[in-house]
């Protein structure tokens, strides 16, 4: 494994209930690289991502960050990592701006209101700043979660189907954001069932489970979806 | 051959299998001896006449109820600290036995209280804290029942046992102070003033019987748990083959 590998998995195994989802999984991720976790429904993508965040413990093997097992470097790892799961992690009672403020506070960062507002505006939420997230549409709520991700300023993004509920424009925008993040030396672990146009990005694929996935995602040539 | 060898489930499974008959038979013989002393050697009590003979199960059961809880908390702490699988299995194996002994203490105490105090139940320190101990046992088992995931259940149960163990003495003393401050000594356990040596002997023998019984039962239960948890390993497959 090359020296500049930041995130690596060593002989990972995961069981849920009495089912073995995967075992002997190995990979290493260097800066500027995207790990695209693929697999059918229920094959264990979410379970893998949660292992990588440290939220759950592997049945066997370990995950390392900068060469150290994440179980042992907990807080420094969490400072550099941001996770977006199936759930958005935003509070329905708060408006988007307040949500971002508290997200920042909980990461122990100072809150930059102007920047947050700009980020929300870029994500098309300028008109919703005063609304409680409860009344936002499905896709708008997902966008708030994405804004929190962007503001976290983490090196490693772990994204579980970030595109759910996003419209085509937002998907295109998200592709751009991913590209920028990777170009700036960031790293991404992502799952998605939708097509992603990631031309020019260094992609590593990982198939979880035994359901073959046709090669559509992250195809280097732009397909229709990307051309918004 | 060191301590860790015994901490491996496979070794422990076989060791437990060899130990169980010894403990079980000792428990049986001690029970017979204890009951013989209790019913045919120990004399009638001056104050309580024959009712005191409940003591030969009441006190050992009460002791075991409390003691097993402590042992559970101990194994739970070990498990949480060193992540040893066997400790968690021990916790699970002990809880039902502890709960049963606590229940027996409550039941026999209530039956004893009716003739002695004229009431099945009074809100006395020992009684109340024993009742709460039973609630703690039930709580732990209910928590296990509610959690499907074995590992999560192990840890959650151990944590609960731990915080309970810290609290049980506090509960006991709190109830004691509460009661004496309020009520004076209108109800207190009428300790047999000079407990005859023979009574004490009988009680102690029964207590040892309860000890051995608990060990035997816990070992038997832990064996079943080991089999279940280690069913993917080769040695369990070998055992099942046989």
């Amino acid at each position: 494994m090359p020296d500049n590998v930041l995130l690596s998995a060593h002989d990972l195994a995961c069981t849920r209930g009495d089912r073995l989802l995967f075992k002997a999984m190995n990979f290493g991720l260097v800066a500027g690289e995207l790990l695209l976790v693929q697999g059918g429904n229920g094959q264990g993508k979410t379970s893998l991502l949660r292992l990588l965040t440290g939220l759950s413990r592997p049945e066997a093997g370990e995950v390392r960050w900068r060469g150290q097992p994440i179980a042992r470097c907990g807080e420094t790892y969490h400072r550099e990592m941001a996770y977006l799961g199936h759930a958005n992690g935003i509070k329905d009672e708060l408006n988007p701006l307040e949500n971002l403020r508290f997200a920042d506070g909980l990461q122990g960062r100072a809150f930059d209101a102007a920047r947050a507002e700009r980020t929300l505006g870029d994500l098309g939420l300028a008109r919703c700043l005063d609304l409680p997230c409860r009344v936002l549409s499905f896709g708008q709520r997902r966008r708030v979660a994405l804004a929190a991700l962007l503001l976290a300023g983490a090196t490693l993004w772990i994204l579980d189907e970030p595109l759910t509920g996003l419209d085509v424009h937002a998907v295109a925008q998200m592709e751009g954001l991913l590209r920028d993040h990777l170009a700036a030396g960031g790293m991404v672990v992502a799952t998605t069932h939708q097509a992603l146009n990631l031309a020019g990005v260094r992609v590593q694929r990982l198939l979880v489970g035994n359901v073959a996935i046709p090669d559509i995602a992250a195809s280097p040539d732009p397909v229709a979806e990307g051309a918004a | 051959m060191n301590l860790y060898t015994y901490a491996s489930p496979a070794t422990f499974y076989h060791l437990a299998g060899r130990l169980i008959p010894w403990f079980a038979w000792s428990a049986g013989i001690l029970t017979l001896v204890g009951l013989y002393i209790g019913f045919f050697v120990a004399p009638t009590d001056f104050q309580q006449s024959e009712a005191y003979r409940v003591i030969f199960i009441h006190v050992p059961a009460a002791w075991m109820g409390m003691f097993i809880y402590l042992v559970m908390a101990f194994w739970g702490a070990i498990g949480l600290a060193f992540n040893t699988r066997l400790s968690f299995m021990m916790v699970r194996a002990l809880a039902p036995t502890g709960a049963i002994f606590t229940f027996i203490a409550l039941w026999t105490g209530a039956l004893w209280g009716k003739p002695m105090w004229g009431a099945w139940w009074v809100w006395d320190a020992r009684l109340t804290s024993t009742l709460i101990l039973l609630f703690l046992y039930i709580g732990i088992m209910a928590l296990w029942a509610a959690i499907d995931d074995v590992k999560r259940g192990d840890r959650a149960g151990a944590l609960l046992a731990l915080i309970g163990a810290i609290n049980v003495p506090i509960i006991y003393f709190s109830v004691k102070w509460w009661n004496t401050l309020h009520q004076g000594a209108s109800v207190s356990l009428t300790k047999a003033p000079t407990m005859a040596t023979i009574m004490l002997t009988g009680m102690l023998i029964m207590a040892f019987a309860a000890w051995f019984y608990s060990i035997a039962v816990a070992l038997a239960r832990v064996r079943a748990i080991i089999l279940e948890r280690e069913r993917h390993t080769e040695w369990v497959k070998d055992i099942l083959e046989r």
Binding site: T53, G54, L55, S56, R57, E75, T76, H78, R79, M81, Y83, G85, H86, A87, N88, G89, I90, K91, D92, E93, L94, E98, F102, A103, D104, G105, L106, Q107, G108, P132 | L80, I132, F135, L136, I138, G139, A142, L143, A146, I147, D149, K151, R152, R155, A156, L159, L160, L162, I163, G164, I166, N167, I170, I171, S174, V175, W177, W178, L181, H182
Partner: protein, 222 residues
């Protein structure tokens, strides 16, 4: 570290303010339990004064319990609990912050309304003072211990019952010392002994409960 604690606090307080009803419901529950008693038992002032401290303390216990099942549950459901646990700050602080917020939201209103209820139960003024003091020391214990229960039962079927089952036994010392202090005043034996025991219990809980709750939270999220 302090910033994190403050952020957790501010967040929970804002949410409570936003949901408005929330803290009022616990308060209302407290008042209701206390006022249902005269309705169920009859208006005899002596009897009411006799049972007053006990009833008020039981009501406080139940009111805190009522709100505890949601201590982590809402955050768990919408995924923000995971984010908080994944924050670079230690989880103990998170638990401490949330317990503290719970106390501010549910404990303080109880303290404010308790004197009124004390009067309703014909308690003398010095007994009301001690009642307040005992609630002031005692309710944080309820929030802290409750945090352990809430973390253990997170996301479980029947979380509510389980929580009751797990936590009420642990509440017993607080209840006894708290009600005992007021009773001590009424009986003329003084409240100091009980109050200092309550204080000791608070310190012990403060030292132990957050760690266990933090561990339980991590276990529950796995």
């Amino acid at each position: 570290m302090t910033r994190f604690l403050l952020a957790v606090l501010r967040r929970d307080l804002t949410l409570a303010a936003r949901r408005r009803g929330d803290w009022l419901i616990a308060l209302f529950f407290f008042v209701m339990v206390a006022s249902l008693f005269p309705l169920g038992i009859g208006p005899d002032p002596k009897l009411l004064a006799r049972i007053g401290p006990g009833v008020l303390w039981v009501a406080a216990t139940l009111a805190s319990l009522l709100s505890l099942s949601r201590l982590f549950a809402d955050d768990h459901r919408d995924g923000s609990l995971e984010h908080m646990v994944l924050s670079p700050e230690p989880t103990v602080l998170l638990v401490l912050g949330k317990s503290l917020a719970h106390w501010l939201i549910y404990g303080i209103p109880l303290l404010l309304i308790a004197p009124v209820l004390g009067v309703q139960f014909h308690l003398p003024a010095d007994a009301i003072g001690v009642l307040l003091l005992s609630l002031l020391i005692g309710t944080p214990i309820l929030s802290l211990l409750g945090g352990v229960g809430a973390a253990l039962t997170l996301g479980l079927r029947g979380g509510g019952v389980l929580l009751t089952l797990l936590i009420l036994p642990l509440y017993v010392p607080a209840l006894i010392f708290g009600a005992g202090a007021v009773d001590g005043v009424l009986a003329g034996t003084g409240a100091e002994a009980h109050l200092s025991l309550l204080g000791a219990f608070l310190i012990l809980t403060l030292l132990v409960a957050p760690w266990i709750a933090a561990a339980a939270l991590k276990v529950s999220l796995e």
